[in-house]
């Protein structure tokens, strides 16, 4: 007889299997496979494992950060590192958290340094889990020099800060700015908007005069981080380790929602993800403006696989304020973080590595694709970008925006992007208006917060 069809075999990926892994981990504990390293109260504000300054450190990086590890090896040939590549927890895979929890259960196996592409890891890594010591080493109690920490761009370490203590170093910033195509704007005779209201008016004008051209996109999971966050919408105000304030019925949320609704209806801000073939096919050469994170420059505009905007066309403007508000604030979409394990047997080397990859010119200026979080490196990085002659305008607005990220939008354990993607995107695609959906969004955030143990105010 023919065997059981593949479909059965392929999908025997039951939760029981997960339980089996759990069982294996439990057995490891039962059989005493724990690391047995005695911990002492360390000098850096957390219990340390017995230190061995000669031991090899293990660093986890994503594919893009392999260059950082290479740069470190080149600059520090005496420090032995073992590089492990993983997905960087991207796309909400959460593999960083998943793997650390399994190591917690096994009582050993933690890497010494981990890169994560997400901003919601400090929220769990700074906390004890199941009676186990928190994974992340606290960094501002002597492990990382004060001078180094104070040189990070203002607000850059917010995603790393829990209850006033710093648990990770920021790799790059992802502040939202207003990207625009200077050549097209000049050709159409449009002036740059100076407020969100003017931006909306211009969108309505573009729809009439140049249909097919767009001034933004709202099809990605980070739509709320670009538009809602920049409008001071209080959908994600983390007020304590386990408390969050969610208020989506405010004027601030409604104005951003209504702007998006208007511009979606007239086709100038389509609900299409910028990383789809559809977007590239329909909007190459048609992007007039695009509010979005700093990394759009390399990921979308100056990328042959994406919009492939020719040199000398792309300009950048500072984040827009809303009318009547004296200063603009902006949102932030990601930007990686580096964690040092509190279980490390070689904290000195781990700290050396984390400090190098976040601050050294050899990596942050010479190699890194994103805007460095470390201010001195950021200055040099901007100078380098400007000397490439790709951009049509100076890049000063990116620097300005770096410290304008609004601090009323926090970094909880759960992902706001995931909530938006599953609750709002399908409904918006189905034709519903964002303003009408605000209560639904509120409910979805609250639900997600509660199952993650948050108290919702």
């Amino acid at each position: 007889m023919v065997g059981i069809p593949t479909v059965v075999r392929a999908r025997r990926r039951s939760a029981l299997t997960a339980a089996a892994f759990g069982a294996a981990a439990a057995l490891l504990i039962l059989t005493g496979c724990s690391n047995g390293g005695s911990t002492t109260n360390g000098s850096y504000g957390f219990p340390e494992a017995k230190q061995d300054p000669a031991s090899t450190i293990t660093v986890w990086v994503d594919a893009d950060r392999q260059a950082a590890a290479k740069a470190f090896e080149k600059a520090n040939p005496d420090t032995k590192i073992k590089v492990v590549t993983y997905d960087g927890s991207a796309n909400g895979s959460n593999s960083f958290k998943t793997k650390m929890q399994l190591f917690d259960r096994a009582g050993s196996g933690w890497p010494d340094v981990v890169f994560s592409s997400q901003n919601n890891d400090a929220a769990w890594a700074s906390q004890k889990s199941g009676g186990k010591q928190a994974f992340a080493a606290v960094l501002d109690k002597g492990l990382v020099p004060k001078d180094t920490l104070s040189n990070f761009t203002e607000g850059a370490l917010n995603p790393c800060t829990v209850s006033g203590e710093v648990y990770c170093l920021r790799n790059d910033l992802a502040q939202a700015v207003l990207w625009y195509n200077k050549s097209l704007m000049d050709k159409f005779g449009y002036a740059l908007p100076t407020t969100w209201e003017e931006y909306q008016a211009l969108g309505e004008k573009v729809a009439k005069e140049h249909p097919g051209y767009i001034i933004g996109s709202a099809g990605d999971a980070w739509t709320p981080e670009v538009f809602m966050w920049a409008s001071k919408c209080q959908a994600n105000d983390v007020t304590g380790v386990k408390s969050v304030t969610v208020k989506t019925d405010s004027t601030e949320c409604k104005r951003a929602g209504s702007l998006l609704d208007t511009l979606r209806k007239d086709g100038t801000v389509p609900v299409v993800s910028v990383f789809t073939p559809e977007f590239v096919k329909n909007y190459s050469g048609k992007v007039l403006m695009m509010p979005g994170p700093a990394w759009y420059a390399g990921a979308i505009f100056n990328n042959p696989q994406s919009l492939n905007v020719p040199a000398g066309q792309l300009g950048v403007a500072a984040p827009l304020p809303w009318k009547g508000e004296d200063s603009a604030v902006t949102g932030n979409v990601g930007g990686g973080t580096w964690f040092i394990s509190s279980h490390s047997k070689n904290l000195k080397a781990a700290e050396q590595f984390a400090q190098f990859v976040t601050t050294a010119d050899d990596y942050q200026v010479a190699v890194a694709p994103g805007y460095p979080a470390y201010a001195p490196a950021a200055e040099k990085w901007i100078a380098k970008q400007e000397s490439s002659n790709y951009f049509a305008t100076p890049l000063k607005p990116i620097v300005t925006a770096a410290s304008q990220v609004w601090d009323g939008w926090g970094y909880p354990i759960f992902s706001q992007e995931a909530v938006w993607a599953k609750t709002m995107t399908p409904a918006i695609t189905g034709g519903q208006s964002i303003v009408d959906l605000l209560p639904t969004w509120q409910q979805a955030i609250e639900n997600q917060a509660k199952v993650n143990g948050y108290k919702v105010n």
Partner: protein
């Protein structure tokens, strides 16, 4: 004339077979049998029974290992994601199982009815081909098929009014999409099995039916289908076991759509979320147990209705 199944023949046939079994050497329990079954038994113990027992232990204890009674079950059942997930999996199962039974039997009968040998062989090969792709890779293939901008059948998708990937994967469409993917990957193997089962039906019976004046449709409905009952039940049980564990399709689709398809769409995903997102292995175990109980109950229905364990 009315056509009754030649039951007298059947009984003679069956009893004849029983007699031959008795008259032959009684099937002795040779040691070699134990060798054959030992590896399976070991693996079943290590990856089936022990984890199940461990899951039961986890489901009734809390994080510190203390007895928790039904607390974990209450937690998961009152989770806002639980009932939507139940609904999703149920809808998917209903669509998929009905489609599977109808189309697999139909296609197997058609292939079996082909006179030309080469046509039947090549068709069976073609049916089986998609199943040769492992679960995850076939889903990856479907990601392209479902995206109107990249799909080879984009014309068809646009005809149905879908102009973008996100429109295709609207929540209402998902059960049908998962059922189609599962059917496409799994049906071929079952068609081959049904074909084999059809070959097992004695030609004497079919011959007799034809002499009695039955046409192909009557033969199919009154002879082949009743004699396939056991195999259909077997397919039902196996597919049910696989279907309640829906995981790979929504998980991959979730990552591909950047979360538009939620990562807590199915019960199994929810269990995964509990274990690895919330670090709550006890809750995950509770969901697994609920799944196990439901799957066992439904399997029991299939087994008893399908006469799966009846001796011939």
């Amino acid at each position: 004339m009315t056509l009754a199944p030649p039951s007298d023949r059947l009984t003679v046939d069956a009893s004849g077979r029983r007699r031959s079994a008795r008259s032959g050497r009684a099937p002795g329990r040779t040691p070699i049998g134990y060798v054959f079954v030992s590896l399976y038994a070991l693996l079943a113990l290590a990856f089936g029974i022990i984890p199940t027992l461990y899951a039961i232990l986890l489901a009734f204890t809390n994080a510190d290992g203390g007895f928790a009674g039904f607390n974990n079950f209450v937690t998961v059942v009152t989770d806002f994601r639980f009932w939507p997930a139940v609904l999703h999996v149920t809808l998917y199962l209903v669509i998929w199982l009905i489609a599977l039974v109808i189309f697999v039997v139909l296609l197997a009968l058609l292939v079996h009815g082909l006179r030309a040998r080469w046509a039947s062989t090549s068709l069976r090969f073609v049916y089986y081909l998609p199943g040769a792709l492992a679960g995850a890779s076939s889903v990856l293939l479907w990601l392209f098929v479902l995206d109107p901008t990249a799909s080879p059948v984009s014309g068809l998708l646009r005809l149905m009014g879908f102009n973008s990937f996100v429109q295709v994967i609207q929540p209402g469409n998902l059960p049908a999409i998962f059922a189609i993917i599962a059917f496409w990957t799994g049906a071929g193997g079952w068609i081959v099995i049904m074909y084999g089962a059809l070959n097992n039906i004695s030609t004497d019976i079919l011959e007799a039916a034809r002499i009695d004046g039955a046409n192909a449709v009557q033969i199919a409905i009154r002879i082949q289908l009743p004699m396939l009952r056991k195999w259909i039940a077997y397919m039902g049980v196996m597919s049910l076991a696989a279907g309640t564990q829906l995981f790979v399709e929504p998980q991959l689709l979730s990552q591909a759509s950047n979360g538009v398809v939620p990562n807590d769409y199915s019960l199994n995903q929810l269990a995964y979320q509990y274990a690895f997102e919330q670090n709550d292995f006890n809750g995950a175990a509770a969901i697994s147990l609920i799944l196990l109980i439901v799957a066992l109950l439904l399997s029991w229905v299939f087994v008893t209705r399908g006469g799966l364990f009846e001796r011939e």
